[in-house]
């Protein structure tokens, strides 16, 4: 029996070198052996052609079952030009700019073009910063595609996943979570009851994920379930239960946190005096307190002090220290505990989303390190006004301040940033150029592109400014072109 490979080998070196008589060909070509030419060379070619045809034509199509097709999309696709900008940003590692533009596209009622979906899903699976934005532009086609590859499924926003009737009993985890979240929106009590019924049978990982569903529509009715979860075997479940109980008004957890906190601070004269907490007991550990410091050089007792203050409802301090947040944070604190007490308050303000406390704390820490978490609580315009004041002083925490202002920036901030950059390019080594411009490129109003290019042209060529400014201008240009495509 002669194979195709043997025939090719013989033809390559020539029949004189490797004599070969074609005696028998494999089926089905073998039946046609009589049609081969008598001349050995021509016969060889005939045999090759015959075998090749037999291999190709002789291959049978295998019947398979086809997957169900994607549902029809009602939203239109992004234009090809916008698609090219997306592809370019995907390749250039500007994830934050890309996420902003995708959100704008979703807002304009558009979805990602189908050819882009695999790259977008892969990028979002690898980078959680892109996940929400990509998820918002997937459309039916993208969700259909994501369901075919397990690593893409996590990109799909669980809230919008269509859940089948029996998803809770038989679905995959993402479907079950989505189903429970939908039930929670319709009927919070029913969702909690259902979760509690099967709670003991869920794995630790699943319990930790499912408990977060209760964050929507949280009420006093959830308290006993969450209290029980404080005794869960899994640390992550306990931690998430603490997160929820902390923001549940009037809970027993809050009462315990208040009791602990009211023992550590008191007013004496016109200053705050700290009483360091005692040893951490089991009740404290159950409530999520942790005696092991997470910051270097912090003592166990002061670390515990911070956590106790951070866990208490902020209203407590008006009761025991008197006055409004602005007055309380201005009080001097005895024995050098200022940074610990303030750190506790800052955590508490972020967790409890308390704007008044955030403002008061930001104002007293004006000369110290800034806190984007606190700044994020302030209204948009107030945040920008703070940064404008900051830029005029050109302080060192500029980057953090700029990052606390999500895009888009207003004209006032845009002007201030351009002025600031104009001053900085002539100075040496004052700000981290790359980080500042990455933030600027993302948020600067798109019509400042020319001003950035002009700054790049004027900047000293021996510094990193010209290159960084040109890249920023280029990203701003991509943003402008993309947004034009959305009109």
């Amino acid at each position: 029996m002669i194979t195709y490979r043997e025939l090719v080998a013989a033809a390559t070196v020539g029949l004189a070198q490797r004599p070969l008589s074609v005696i028998e060909l494999p089926e089905p070509a073998g039946e046609y052996g009589t049609v081969l030419a008598a001349d050995p060379a021509v016969g060889l070619l005939d045999a090759v052609a015959l075998l090749d045809a037999a291999q190709r034509a002789g291959r049978l199509a295998t019947p398979i079952s086809l997957p169900s097709p994607a549902p029809t999309d009602t939203r239109a696709e992004l234009s090809p030009r916008a698609g090219r900008i997306v592809a370019e940003l995907l390749g250039s590692g500007s994830a934050d700019v890309l996420a902003d533009l995708l959100r704008a596209a979703a807002h304009a009622g558009l979805r990602a073009a189908s050819p882009l979906l695999p790259a977008l899903l892969s990028a979002a699976a690898a980078d959680s910063a892109l996940r929400d934005a990509v998820s918002a532009t997937l459309g039916e086609r993208g969700r259909w595609l994501a369901a075919l590859a397990p690593e893409w499924l996590r990109v799909v926003d669980s809230g919008v996943m269509p859940a089948a009737e029996d998803a809770w009993e038989t679905g995959r985890f993402a479907e079950r979570r989505s189903w429970l979240a939908q039930l929670r929106r319709r009927d919070p009590d029913a969702a909690r009851t259902l979760l509690a019924e099967g709670w003991a049978r869920e794995t630790g990982d699943d319990r930790a994920e499912l408990i977060t569903v209760l964050a929507g529509g949280l009420s006093a009715a959830d308290e006993s379930f969450l209290e029980a979860a404080l005794d869960d075997r899994r640390a992550e479940v306990r931690r998430r239960a603490v997160h929820l109980l902390r923001v549940l008004p009037g809970s027993a957890y809050q009462a315990r946190a208040r009791a602990r906190a009211s023992e550590v601070l008191r007013v004496e004269g016109r200053r705050i005096v700290v009483t360091l907490p005692g040893e951490l007991d089991d009740a404290g550990r159950r409530d999520g307190l942790d005696a092991r410091p997470r910051t270097p050089r912090a003592g166990e007792k002061t670390w515990l002090l911070r956590q106790i203050i951070a866990a208490a409802p902020l209203e407590l301090w008006a009761e025991i220290l008197g006055g409004d947040p602005r007055r309380i944070v201005a009080l001097p604190i005895a024995d050098d505990f200022t940074s610990d007490v303030h750190a506790g308050w800052r955590r508490a303000a972020v967790r409890q989303r308390n704007v008044e406390w955030a403002r008061a704390l930001l104002d007293v820490s004006d000369h110290g390190p800034s806190d984007p978490g606190l700044a994020a609580l302030l209204p948009h315009t107030e945040r920008q006004a703070r940064v404008v004041a900051f830029l005029q002083r050109a302080a060192m925490e500029l980057v953090v301040e700029l990052q606390s202002c999500p895009p888009p920036w207003g004209r006032q901030l845009g002007e201030a940033v351009i002025d600031f950059l104009g001053r900085e390019v002539r100075r040496e080594g004052s700000v981290p150029v790359g980080v500042v411009l990455a933030t600027v490129a993302r948020a600067l109003p798109v019509d400042y592109e020319a001003q950035l290019r002009k700054l790049a042209d004027d900047a000293p060529v021996t510094t990193s400014w010209p290159r960084a400014l040109r890249r920023a201008a280029y990203l701003v240009e991509l943003r402008r072109r993309f947004l034009e495509e959305l009109r």
């Binding site: 169900s68 073009a113 595609l145 075919l148």
Partner: protein, 82 residues
């Protein structure tokens, strides 16, 4: 054609069908479900799947005895390289 150049195993061809991701290998099927191997080496078959959405698409590629290697797919009026 084959007898003229029997040494050329890959022929350019345009096929219409549904790409089906599979473990371990991809298939390219007509609407009745009759399928041939989809050769995914050197291309991104997921782009083809995304454009298809489970419906038949027109793809240009190379046909050989081993199967079909799509190289370009039409997405509406746009040719998308794979």
């Amino acid at each position: 054609m084959l007898a003229l150049d029997p040494w050329l195993p890959d022929w350019p061809s345009v096929l219409r069908g549904v790409p089906v991701p599979g473990q371990p290998s991809w298939r390219f099927a007509d609407e009745s479900g009759a399928s041939v191997s989809l050769l995914a080496g050197g291309i991104d078959p997921w782009v083809l799947a995304a454009v298809s959405g489970g419906a038949p698409v027109t793809a240009a590629g190379e046909w050989s005895a081993d199967g079909f290697r799509p190289l370009t797919v039409w997405h509406g009026h746009t040719a998308v390289p794979l």
